[in-house]
Every structure is written in structure tokens, then in C-alpha cells.
Symmetry: C2
Subunit: 599 residues, 2 copies
């Protein structure tokens, strides 16, 4: 075996795997995995997003699914590589109803360590791209045909009125937009409902200094890359304008200035009733499938603090903060110490506002440059591009690391970050700032997945905290709000004309209590988090993000969202799940997650 | 030599060429070219767009330019290939002030047959892309900084008022837009002036059935490719929307609803005075350089026909034709037999209008499918992409064929087209349609370059002409227009409620007679055409398109335009010429063309 190439080894494994699956010999297929093994499947085998984390789990999944899936045609694509005893190979495969791509890792005993299978397209419902694109001009002429412009105008006039969409997406941020683009390609009629007037407003309306904290290579939307001069960290108005242009280019039915007021599922009709207020006009939409894309960071958490009603200055959640201009010469208190808190404090300081950050608990600090180089650079950077890893490949490599062991890859990254940034960390601690690196030292991205909070990607504010420009009160909370000050839990009092609650967001299912019913919100359960049994992410272990991009306990209700990377990548799998259902394909879900937490 | 690889042969040629140029040994450099040789230079050597068509011309150009250009570092890039005795190699090179790319063809005697040199970037003025892109977020914080949104708003408010642009582009179609995007990347402040309200309107306002006659692979704008599901032939409203989105994404200062009313060059100030009417407000712009991008097909030719003023129906040039709706049940006469005439006749017929085409002279017909496969497919198609030829490579291959011999490559293409489409051509002739294939049988593209007219890319209307659905009167002209009919030169009379002049366009310099002065229009001279001494393209031979994208006889005045391919590709060279001048680099022009014709 040692004389054969990595590619030949990988193909040999796939051939044996294929043969075992073809003859439905599950024991032989499972025997190709090592004792420490993971098979992550994105829709292809399970009509679900789930990871089998042992030979026994793989055996059970295959026993349930193999006959129906009928996989075949497993082929290594490109050249496999071997590094530190692990052979990594890209491959393509088919199921009865779909084509897919995957990534295989073999250990030096020749057995599989990780297997990723992902659905790329449904047979018979392929996107019309490349040589299969539409002609545009209909060659030949026939009486009465409509031009593209006429057809589009007719769609905009009738969809949601005399025509009903198959899918309604509530929330027109990056999540709704990316999903809308995918569904359009799949000929799924869709309306996206957004309370703001224009696509991109959910970025534009945030504080003035906001830039993306993730770099450009990580942030592409589906089908249309940013131009190659796009800033590394896109300013919020620029990304807003991009989203708006994208929405038009992709011909989305985007209903701005529209708020969903009530939804209910009509069992008899097999359709939802989604009542929306479209610029003052009530419209009832009747889609077959409903997607909630209101933002993982969308449902604002505002703590109830005694005396808040007596405050005479401005107080608002960070998501409503307009920027520093109205507060020149005033005194500001920002409650919280995560991304928004730091950004807002820095912008207030830049504008000459006296600002104090109130840090309630420890925070993970990841300096942007170190984070880009140590954590993201291998998959999303100019260097990655030069090494042949574009974001399509990066996304699949990213997806191929099972959540169960992901922290173990991150811990060394943050140990290196600690060494590299020792001086900054030392100065922050000296200023009283409480630091952490996550419950197990696995740093930023695991905190993002587990709880969606608890960190700041430092783009400059840490220096201001360290040198005292941004005043810091740490290990305290606000005990009481007075008309012109706040009293902290250590008894001290801070004068305040402005109070910003940079206090994060609640689980997305909370939107549903108002929109559908509290019972439905509970039926859906908590959204996001892995069940890691770390702060704000209670167990049991889930293996995947709760309720994201996959079937939920509420039939025909889906949750979509995440950062730009996730909105891009997972919209692929959500769109395929929706298309399959709308096309009437059987979609038996394997490993449907139970609900362990309601918020 | 026969044992070495094509790449080694090409590198050996470049090494000898480099050595000769380094020691300023012009005779030795010229000796590396065969007797039948062409060197086309796009700006790198000549600060011009020009082709040397013999060893003597190459010798003269080098004698004038070599010391100043100081070329070096000639390196084959990728693998050279040898086909039918011709070795073709891509290469990179430098000059004193720039970096470039080129394409070399050696004949089997080892001597150069064609050499293309093109400027890619000016040293010190590189576009900020890839790893050189801007950060977006300024890491670190400092007081008083402005956000991207604030800076952009300030630019939009001040540019053209308290700030003067370096360049004004008159005409905001694809040409102005593509050039604007290039100039933006080069940090050249620019305002684009467009009479229509929105970018894309020059497409949207044309007849309803219009689709691009060129395929998608040929039509990309700079920096941002169409998504991969874009129609092969883009409908006019869709390309309009794309241009509008592109203009916003590229952050162009695009002044819609603005008409240039008068321009004059202020020698004392070294700036133009461009008086514009911006939505009713007179504004004087003072750019250093002025670009006319009003469309090669922009200055409508309307023949003066006796009795036109007596016509009681609608009469208009094809560029003003609104589509068939207003004419249902009426009788239409379309004068002309080129692209617009056919498209308009077909759309009128589809809507049930009685329509007659009046063909004055013979027309070249190129069925779209055959044209795509035989003429464009090698460089611009899915097949080309699969063969590694994207539009960047396609553009350079296209540019590497000297105009002097271009027709010889096209003649066999159209001979094959004649064979393949014999049945259609036969039926058209039977219907009385007068066909041609160009003065020398070189077909569509040479007609486009020589005269910009004389052809129809058939997307269906020919069938309607052949089967009599579109009535045809050929080898006649309109002698006289009567209140409700036209009298043809054969004495026959056609009843008419609508008269469309699909009679083409005049030379772009005619715009300048009104905009600057008749003297300046004549000083600039005819625009477009090669001097091929074929119909509508009088000699002497020019070697390049007259006045396009290169220095003209009117200092600081430039002409830009063409189809989407040309707007994309040649905007690169025009933007570099403008940038060099604005940066104060010496730009001695070699081979400045004389003016032989004023219209």
C-alpha cells in the first residue's frame, strides 16, 4: 500500500466502500472506518444535517437509509494528498436522486477517520448554468411572446397576489437573500419579507463605524464573488449596497417595508397563512414552506434593570445604536464587552464622547490580524487562493471537520495567539479587563458556534481599553438606573446621558412566540448551539447546530441564518431540501433532533 | 531546435530578443522577425494603439522608442504550443514604467510572425487587488475618521462642484461605464455624464424584443463576471439592470439625466470647460481629459426624403422605435435591412402588424448559431472555457491578430457558413433578398470593423423574410414620402402608418460639431473603420480603428466605445493612457494617425 499514490489509496477505499454499499453489506462498509470515526452528511444520505460519530452510529444510519439512498459512482476528483499520516481526498458520488461531493480522510491504517458527504444537485432539477444556461433570445419568432422585461414585471405584480409563492422567507438580510438566490436558481417561487425598506438596510442602519469582522474571502454570496479589490473588512454601508445590488441581479421577489404580523399553518390546505403588512397594506401569503431568517443575532436581549424607566437620557440596545453624533460632549455607559460593545465604545471615543464599558463577565479577545493568519488564513485568504483553495473548497474543508472534535483543532491556534499577543493580553489584564479563551481554550469560533457571543475580534478598541481611553468597569453589572446615572453592583455610580445595552441576542425561536404562538416556539426549541455543556450551551450533545438549515420539529418550518459564510454555504442544503419537498420527492429524515431546550 | 519544447523555443526567442533590445541592437532585434511580420502594440511601446506591419516599420518604431521604453524581463508564461508549424507563446515583460503581457507566434523557421505587446499596469500605480486590497476597517482607531459611507456621500456631494474631476466621460452606456470602473481602480476622479435617467436606460429604451446579438462569454464587463446562469443572449432590460447594478457596485460618479451642452478647451487653465445640464441645473465641469463615449452606433443617420414632412403617421429612427404595441392593426414600412431592421420587423410581425422591409442594398446574413460555433466559439464559449480560454485570454488572442491579415482568417469561416446554411441562403434569395458576405467574403466581423453596418445576425427574422411573413421590397429605396404611403424608386407605392428609418449611424465625431465646434469635429476626423478601401471604409489603410481608444489629433480628447467586448478590453488601454498623463509621466506618442476623412 505504501507504494501506491494517495489518490490510488483513496480510490481503492472508495471502490471497496462502493462495492460494500452496492451489495448492501453494511458490516463490510462499516469495517472500512476506524474505531475513531465521523461521517458528516449534508442531506445526501439523511435528508438532514447530521454527523454519525462512531461505527455503531454509521451502522445504524446505513441500516435505515442505504436501500433508499442507493449510492454509487464514488470517484476521487483531483489529486489526493497525504500529510502527517492522514490521506485527504475529494470525491464525487451519486445517490438515487442526487449528485454529491465529499471529502474523505484516511488514517495510515487505511481506515476512514472522517467522511463528509454533501448534496450538490437533485437529478432532473439541475441549475441551468454553463452550457445549460437559457438562451435569453428565443431564436425563431412566434406571435405574442413576452420579453424578459414583461415577464419580470408580471411576476412582480402577481406574485403574492394572484400567484402564491411556494416559499416565504421572513427576514431579508444576508440569510434570506442568499437562500432566495439559491431558490430562484431551482425555480422555486419565493417571496422574501423584510421590515426595512431596502435590501442591505439591516447593515446600513447599524452604528456608523461597523465593518464586517470576517474577511472578504469568507464572505462571498452564492454565484457572484466580490470584485477582487473588495476591502478585506467590508464597511457596513458598502456591504449593504452590495446586498441590494445582488438582490436585483438575482431577480429576487424582495418585499421591503414589509412586516410579518401573524402566521399559522393551515393543515387542510397544506399551506401556511402568512399575514404581512406591506407598506400599510395587509396581504396574506400562502406558501407551502416557511423559512425564518430573522438573524441568529436578531432577537435583542435587553435586561430588565430597576429604574430604567426613570432614565432621562437615551437608552437602547446596541442593534439600535445610531453612532456617536447625537452624543458629542456627553457621557456614555455601554453595558457589555463583546464585539458591538467594543465597536460602539471606540466610535464614541473617536467622536470625543466620554465612554465607560461595563464588563460583566470575562471576554475572549482575538486580535483580527492574528485571527486571520492563525484561524482563517488556511481556508480563506489570498494565500489559500494561491494554494488552490477558493471559498467553495474552503467551505467543504470547513464542513468536513466534525463538531465533536473541532475544538481540538482550535485549541493550538489560540495557544499560539496567546503567545503572539502576550503583550496586548497583559496590558488588558493590567487595565482590569477579564479575559478568557473559552471553557476549554478553544477560542472564538467555538464560542460562536456554542453560544454566539463572548468575544471581540479586536480591530483597535483593545488598545483604547488598555490605555484607558475607553474607561473600564469590570466584574460588575448595573444594579440600578437613575435619571442621570447608573449605580453598579460594586456600589459605584457612573454619570450617564447615554446607556447602550450591548447585551446580545436571544434564541431565534423567540420570534415565533409572537409570530405564530408560544407553543410553536417551544415546539421548535432553542436555535443555535451544539449542546457542548459549556456556558450558555447546555447539553446534551447535539452534534450539529440546533435547528439550523435542517428539518425542525415544526413541519414545513425552517430556520436559516448565520454569518455570510454560513448563509452562503448552508443555503445550498436548505434550498435542496425545500426543492425536493416541493418537487414531491420522498424525503425521509434520519436522525431528526429532539428538543431539549426551549430558549 | 526540433528537439526542444515549444516553450523552450519561445523562451529562446524572447531571450535573444531581450538581449538585442538590452544592447540597443535594433538590427539584431528586427532580424528575429520574418519578412512577413506584424507587431501590434497596445500602449506599452508606443503610447498608442498601432501595428507595425513589416521589418522596416518595426525598425523605425524601435529606433524611435527603444531607449525610452527600456524593455526587459521577457518570460514565457504557461506552456507554449505548436500547431501547424506555428508556435504560440504567452509572455510577460516590463518597460521602464510598466508591466505587460504579450503573445508571440513563431513560424517554423524560428522567426516571429506576430507579436502582441500590451500594457497591464503602470509601476507605482497598480490596482489595489488581491493581497494589495484595502483593509476597509482601519485597524486601530483615531479621532474624527470618516466611515466609507460618509466619504462616499461627501464625494457624491462635492465632485463636480467644489472638487473637479480629472476626467469627464460624455456618454454613460457600456463604454462609459466600463471605462469609469477602470479609472476608479486607478484612483482617477471621474464623472460620467448620461442623458438618460438611469444607467442601462440606453438599452432599456430600445425596442422591446431586443436581445444582445453577442453571447454572454463575449460580454463581461471588467472586474465582475456575469453569474454562470446568465442567458446566452441577454435581454435588453436585463443587461440594463446589470449595467445599473454594476455602476453602483463600482462606485461610479454617474450623473444621469444630464446632458453636455457645450465644451471648450481652456488652454490657459489646461482644462476643459464642459457645460452640462444636470436635471435642469447648469453645471460647469473642468476636467483635464475629456472622453467621448456616445456610442459607435449613436449618432443616428436619418435620410432626408422628399415629402417626409407630409407623412401623417409616426416616423422615427430605429433608435427611437418603442416596439410594436402602438401599431397594432397598422401598416409599417421599415427602411433598411440590418440588425435593427430585422429585429423591428420581426417584433412588428409577432404583434400582428403588417410590415414591409425595404432593402436598399445587399446585406450579410450570419445565422446566430453558426456564427457562435464557427466564429466566436473558439475564444468565447463554454468550450473555450473548458479549454482554458477565459475572456481575458480570449481578448488577447483576439487582439493578437493584426487587422491587415484578419480577413484571411475570416474568409474560410464564412465559406463554411455558406455551406452549412445553404438552404436558408437559397430561400432568402428566392424571396428576393440581396445577400453578400462582404467585399472580400470575410463576413460579419470585418464588416463591423470596417463600417459598423451591413449585416444581420439571424435570430429568427430571416425565416419570416423567406416565408413572406415579413414582406420584402429589395433593390429599391424610398423615392418619396406621401401622407399615408411611401413611393419606392421602382414606382410602386406602399401604404404606411409607421415608417421606421433603420438607416444606421454616422461617425461619432459628428457629435463634436454641436458639442465643441465643426472645426474640432473635422480636426478629430472620422471615427471607426480601418481604411480597408471597401464600401463605407475608404482608404488609405490605417492599420487600426480610426480614433478609437488612442490619442487623437485633438489634444486631451479621446473616443471610447464599441460592443461590450471592446468596451471591456480597450477601456484597459484607454484608462492607462489617461492615468499616465494625469500622473505626469512622459507619454510620447509614436505613429500618431493622420486624419484622412472628416466623416
Amino acid at each position: 500500500m505504501s507504494t501506491s499514490t494517495p489518490t490510488a489509496q483513496a480510490q481503492a477505499w472508495l471502490d471497496r466502500f462502493d462495492a460494500a454499499l452496492q451489495r448492501r453489506d453494511i458490516a463490510a462498509a462499516v469495517a472500512l472506518f476506524g474505531p475513531d470515526c465521523y461521517w458528516r452528511d449534508l442531506v445526501s444520505f439523511t435528508w438532514n444535517i447530521c454527523t454519525q460519530e462512531s461505527p455503531a452510529q454509521i451502522r445504524a444510519m446505513l441500516a435505515a437509509r442505504l436501500d433508499d439512498v442507493a449510492p454509487s459512482n464514488w470517484r476521487v476528483t483531483g489529486d489526493a494528498t497525504t500529510t502527517d499520516g492522514v490521506t485527504e481526498a475529494w470525491f464525487s458520488f451519486e445517490t438515487r436522486v442526487s449528485r454529491g461531493k465529499g471529502l474523505l480522510r484516511l488514517k495510515d491504517d487505511g481506515l476512514a477517520w472522517t467522511l463528509l458527504t454533501t448534496m450538490v444537485e437533485l437529478k432532473g432539477f439541475e441549475e441551468k448554468t454553463g452550457e445549460h444556461r437559457v438562451a435569453g433570445a428565443e431564436h425563431g419568432v412566434h406571435k405574442g411572446r413576452k420579453s424578459w422585461g414583461e415577464q419580470r414585471a408580471e411576476e412582480l405584480a402577481t406574485m403574492g397576489y394572484s400567484q402564491q409563492p411556494d416559499v416565504v422567507v421572513i427576514g431579508g438580510g444576508q440569510g434570506g437573500i442568499a437562500l432566495g438566490a439559491r431558490l430562484r436558481r431551482l425555480d422555486v417561487s419565493t417571496i422574501i419579507v423584510e421590515k426595512n425598506a431596502r435590501a442591505g438596510d439591516s447593515w446600513r442602519r447599524r452604528y456608523k463605524s461597523l465593518c464586517l469582522h470576517d474577511p472578504v474571502w469568507y464572505d462571498h454570496l452564492p454565484y457572484l464573488n466580490f470584485p477582487d479589490d473588495w476591502p478585506v473588512f467590508s464597511p457596513k454601508d458598502k456591504i449593504g449596497d452590495w446586498l441590494e445590488a445582488y438582490t436585483k441581479i438575482m431577480e429576487l421577489n424582495y418585499w421591503g417595508s414589509t412586516t410579518a404580523t401573524h402566521c399559522r399553518y393551515d393543515e387542510g390546505a397544506g399551506r401556511w397563512e402568512v399575514v404581512v403588512d406591506r407598506a400599510g397594506q395587509a396581504v396574506t401569503l400562502r406558501p407551502k414552506e416557511l423559512v425564518i431568517a430573522l438573524g441568529v443575532s436578531g432577537y435583542a436581549n435587553v435586561p430588565k434593570i430597576a429604574g430604567a424607566e426613570t432614565f432621562v437620557g437615551d437608552q437602547h440596545h446596541s442593534s439600535k445604536h445610531p453612532g456617536p453624533e447625537p452624543y458629542l460632549g456627553k457621557k456614555a455607559v455601554v453595558l457589555g464587552s463583546n464585539n458591538s460593545a467594543h465597536d460602539i465604545c471606540a466610535a464614541l471615543w473617536e467622536a470625543g464622547v466620554d465612554v465607560t464599558m461595563v464588563q460583566r463577565s470575562s471576554t475572549h479577545i482575538a486580535p483580527s490580524k492574528a485571527l486571520m493568519e492563525l484561524a482563517l488564513g488556511g481556508l480563506y485568504s489570498e494565500q489559500a487562493l494561491k494554494a488552490g483553495i477558493d471559498h467553495h473548497k474552503g467551505d467543504l474543508i470547513f464542513a468536513s471537520v466534525p463538531y465533536k472534535i473541532m475544538h481540538s483543532f482550535h485549541i493550538p491556534v489560540y495557544e499560539e495567539m496567546k503567545r503572539r499577543e502576550a503583550e496586548l493580553y497583559g496590558r488588558l489584564e493590567k487595565a482590569g479587563f477579564m479575559l478568557d479563551f473559552g471553557a476549554d481554550g478553544s477560542g472564538l469560533f467555538m464560542k460562536y458556534l456554542r453560544r454566539g457571543s463572548g468575544y471581540y475580534i479586536d480591530v483597535g478598541a483593545c488598545e483604547l481599553v488598555a490605555n484607558g481611553s475607553i474607561k473600564l468597569k469590570s466584574n460588575v453589572n448595573i444594579e440600578r438606573i437613575n435619571p442621570k446615572s447608573v449605580t453598579l453592583t460594586d456600589g459605584s455610580e457612573l454619570p450617564a446621558d447615554l446607556l447602550v445595552y450591548a447585551t446580545g441576542y436571544g434564541s431565534m425561536n423567540r420570534w415565533l412566540a409572537d409570530l405564530i404562538s408560544p407553543a410553536t416556539a417551544d415546539q421548535l426549541g432553542k436555535v443555535w448551539g451544539l449542546g457542548s455543556d459549556t456556558p450558555k450551551d447546555p447539553g446534551p450533545w447535539e452534534g450539529e447546530l440546533r435547528n439550523m438549515w435542517k428539518p425542525t420539529q415544526v413541519p414545513h418550518l425552517w430556520v436559516h441564518g448565520g454569518n455570510l459564510h454560513q448563509s452562503r454555504h448552508y443555503s445550498q442544503f436548505l434550498s435542496l431540501q425545500l426543492k425536493a419537498r416541493l418537487a414531491g420527492l420522498p424525503t425521509p429524515v434520519y436522525g431528526q433532533a429532539a428538543v431539549h431546550h426551549t430558549s
